[in-house]
């Protein structure tokens, strides 16, 4: 590892990127009580768009994404707290990685705000929805802008809270609130890892500034044992499995689809769930040297990609398919990190944010048009009724399965290429997951938009309003073209993401593992051809199968049942954790509480009252008895005194 210089700039504007959505949230949450979605949505969208505008201005005015050298833009806002040696400033900074995420969060966030005005127009309390949504935006921006892991943790918890609030937004249904609680509790388990990492940073490095941590790895002379870095890196990764829905903590994400669909698009597909990957990317120099951990990350990523993809094959709920698809794609991103390619992971984060947000918004439009029906088997032939939704959904599907020259093609190809460079076996494993993506996405698309209309709702479905279709169109354009920021060697060889990511480590440059064995151009063509051909073949096969399908009912086979029931993971967790905990609690309440704690207290109580009764015998109330005690005592004292001297 070597260090090069980087340019430091400062701007007081950064804090407004966080403050504007926060103010928007406060206005909607505290002042606005109007049931008019246009007022609430107007305020929320304005705040979101302003944050987007400020972000764009800040990024382009300081040429963070267009400079040849690394640029770090800072805003020394205030000192959060300072106790003894623990010094926590609340400073903000923008590195190229942060800039990319800023644009994704505020940009896609704004589109989803616009969409939500249409989607939530019949809701009882749109002000509450937009207040939460802006609060989420604000917390997410704290997460990505903060220069300090403590600040990141604040944002991390903030987005967790907003996720909980929004999953349970329609709180009158028990199912929704239970899903919210599940998400919250599961994420708490992950947060433990973040806390461990934080404590390790303070204990062994004395700081939680991301820059200092990255620099400390680079300095090379560190006397720190490797297990400290393992603790920090492993802790953050553990937290990432919670927030970014990886095995074993992914179970909350599919349930999180109980929330309103724009929430699923913004929080549970495009932004929040990628925060684990973003934080790891920012701290990449720590990970680069920990090969064992990277292998674990790779295995977990690829297992998640498979498990989720296999589950998605048979789901009937359109949002569940997309949810498992999200989990699967997040697995891809972790696999990329495990293969030593954070740039590929970040690239996939960005393209995925575009097409998955589009898929969810499209699904929301379908659900809206179908009068809240979500079952794929009840849809069919919606392409005639909802042409704009159909076209945009088709584009997003093409992007996610990696049809050549769409955004998903480039990002997935980059991950696969990086995996091939680390080991061909990894490539073939990932290829399988990618091909499965093609199959279940085409199943979802075909069942919804082709074939015959299978219910009355499907026959009378209607296209959504302009407020909802406009964001769809913009996202469709993004889904098609955002991939051109990073292309393979054989197609123009554009490497923007690679540059941005490597410029984000404060001048620290990390040796590339994969660079040692470079791929030949022929090999690259072969890989691209193989991936695309297999994906398109499976997609076509899936289309054929489901467009001509006659009987719509749950599959009967063993594997189909396994997949439909999500591999019984929820049931397994129910037995392993929930029941066990409940059983433990019961056991201890019956045995330990009753027979040990209770009994000890009883003995103490009985002893005290018995002692009191005995002593009260001497307490006659007669003054002369007391005088006797006094005289007697004095006499004894005198005798002892006599005897001693």
């Amino acid at each position: 590892m070597t260090g090069t210089s980087f340019v430091e700039l400062s701007s007081d504007l950064l804090r407004w990127i966080i403050l504007i959505p926060f103010i928007g949230s406060a206005i909607n949450g505290v002042i606005n009580r109007s049931k008019n979605a246009f007022i609430a949505g107007g305020i929320g969208t304005l705040a979101s768009l302003l944050a987007f505008g400020v972000s764009c201005y800040v990024i382009f005015a300081n040429s963070i994404l267009s400079s040849d050298s690394a640029v770090v833009l800072r805003d020394a806002w205030f000192t959060w707290f300072s106790v003894g040696k623990v010094h926590v400033p609340f400073h903000l900074e923008v590195t190229p990685v942060v800039a990319v995420m800023l644009l994704v969060v505020t940009g896609i966030g704004s589109l989803i705000h616009i969409y939500s005005i249409g989607y939530m127009s019949h809701d009882e309390s749109p002000w509450r929805f937009f207040s939460y949504l802006n609060l989420f935006l604000s917390a997410m921006l704290v997460l990505i802008l903060s220069s300090n892991l403590v600040g990141v943790f604040l944002g991390w918890e903030g987005v967790g809270l907003c996720s909980y609030l929004l999953i349970g937004f329609w709180y009158k249904s028990h199912e929704n609130t239970a899903a919210g609680m599940k998400a919250f509790v599961t994420n708490r388990i992950g947060d433990l890892g973040f806390l461990i990492a934080l404590f390790a940073c303070f204990a062994y490095l004395g700081t939680a500034q991301i820059q200092d941590i990255v620099m400390a790895v680079n300095s090379g002379n560190s006397e720190l044992p490797q297990w400290v870095w393992l603790l920090v890196a492993g802790g953050i990764f553990w937290a990432g499995t919670g927030k970014s829905a990886q095995i074993p903590l992914y179970v909350w994400l599919p349930d999180a689809m109980a929330g309103p669909t724009p929430v699923s698009a913004l929080i549970h597909a495009a932004t929040m769930v990628t925060s684990g990957i973003v934080v790891i990317t920012r701290l990449w120099p720590i990970y680069a040297g920990l090969h064992g951990l990277l292998e674990i990350i790779f295995v977990i990523g690829i297992s998640t990609a498979y498990l989720a993809a296999l589950t998605a094959l048979t789901q009937r709920d359109i949002k569940k398919v997309l949810a498992y698809s999200t989990v699967s794609q997040l697995g891809f991103m972790f696999a990329a990190i495990g293969a030593g390619a954070p740039a590929a992971a970040l690239f996939h984060v960005v393209t995925h944010a575009c097409f998955k947000a589009l898929l969810f918004l499209g699904a929301g439009s379908v659900i809206h048009g179908m009068h809240e029906k979500q079952d794929l088997f009840e849809m069919g032939n919606l392409r005639k009724k909802m042409p704009i939704t159909h076209i945009t959904f088709a584009i997003a599907t093409a992007a996610i399965i990696g049809v050549p020259l769409t955004s998903g093609f480039f990002s997935k190809d980059l991950i696969l290429a990086k995996a091939y460079m680390s080991s061909p076996i990894a490539y073939f494993l990932l290829l399988g997951a990618a091909v499965l993506t093609a199959f279940y996405m085409l199943r979802c698309y075909t069942l919804a938009f082709w074939g015959k209309a299978r219910t009355k709702e499907a026959e009378h479905a209607h296209e959504s309003s302009l407020l909802m279709t406009l964001p769809l169109a913009i996202l469709a354009v993004l889904s098609l073209f955002v991939g051109w920021y990073e292309t393979p060697e054989v197609i123009f060889a554009i490497h923007r993401f690679e540059n941005w990511v490597s410029q984000s480590w404060y001048g620290v440059s990390v040796a590339h593992e994969g660079a040692a064995h470079h791929m030949s151009h022929t090999m690259e063509w072969v890989l691209i051809g193989l991936t695309s051909a297999l994906s398109i073949l499976l997609a076509w096969f899936s289309y054929k199968k489901y467009s001509t399908m006659k009987v719509f009912q749950d599959a009967k086979g063993f594997f189909a049942k396994l997949s439909q029931n999500k591999f019984y993971v929820d049931e397994f967790y129910q037995i392993l954790f929930v029941r066990t905990l409940a059983w433990n609690a019961k056991f201890f309440s019956r045995l330990f509480d009753k027979h040990i704690i209770n009994r000890t207290l009883h003995i103490l109580r009985d002893g005290t009252s018995m002692g009191g009764e005995i002593i009260s015998l001497f307490h006659t109330g007669n003054v002369q008895t007391y005088a006797w005690y006094l005289a007697f005592g004095t006499a004894i004292a005198l005798i002892i005194g006599w005897w001693r001297f």
């Binding site: 002593i615 009260s616 307490h619 006659t620 109330g621 005088a627 006797w628 005289a631």
Partner: protein, 106 residues
């Protein structure tokens, strides 16, 4: 009896003080009437006063004599309060026998 006549004035005064004090203790413990108990208290006090004043004279130090003035003062106040309390108790309960005043029994 011979030892009695061989005592110095100081010794004699101290023995007298002790006798007075013991009488007071005996009276306080043995008699049931509140008024008698009070009188016995005064007796104890005066026994002690006597001891103090004779020690004071023996050492030629006036501190003891000065302290007696304080004790007498306090004793007077105490007697006044105690008597008025007894009067109150008598009016309330119709008795000043210490055996009947057992409200503080635990």
């Amino acid at each position: 009896m011979s030892t009695l006549f061989m005592m110095s004035t100081t010794q004699f005064h101290i023995v007298l003080g002790l006798i007075l004090f013991s009488l007071g203790v005996f009276g306080f413990l043995a008699r049931r009437s509140g008024i008698v108990a009070l009188m016995c208290l005064e007796l104890m006090l005066n026994g002690i006063n006597l001891c103090l004043v004779s020690f004071s004279q023996y050492h030629g130090n006036p501190d003891g004599s000065a302290m007696i003035l304080c004790i007498v003062l306090v004793a007077a106040a105490e007697a006044a309060i105690a008597l008025s309390l007894l009067v109150k108790i008598f009016r309330k309960l119709g008795t000043v026998s210490l055996d009947d005043l057992r409200a503080l029994k635990g």
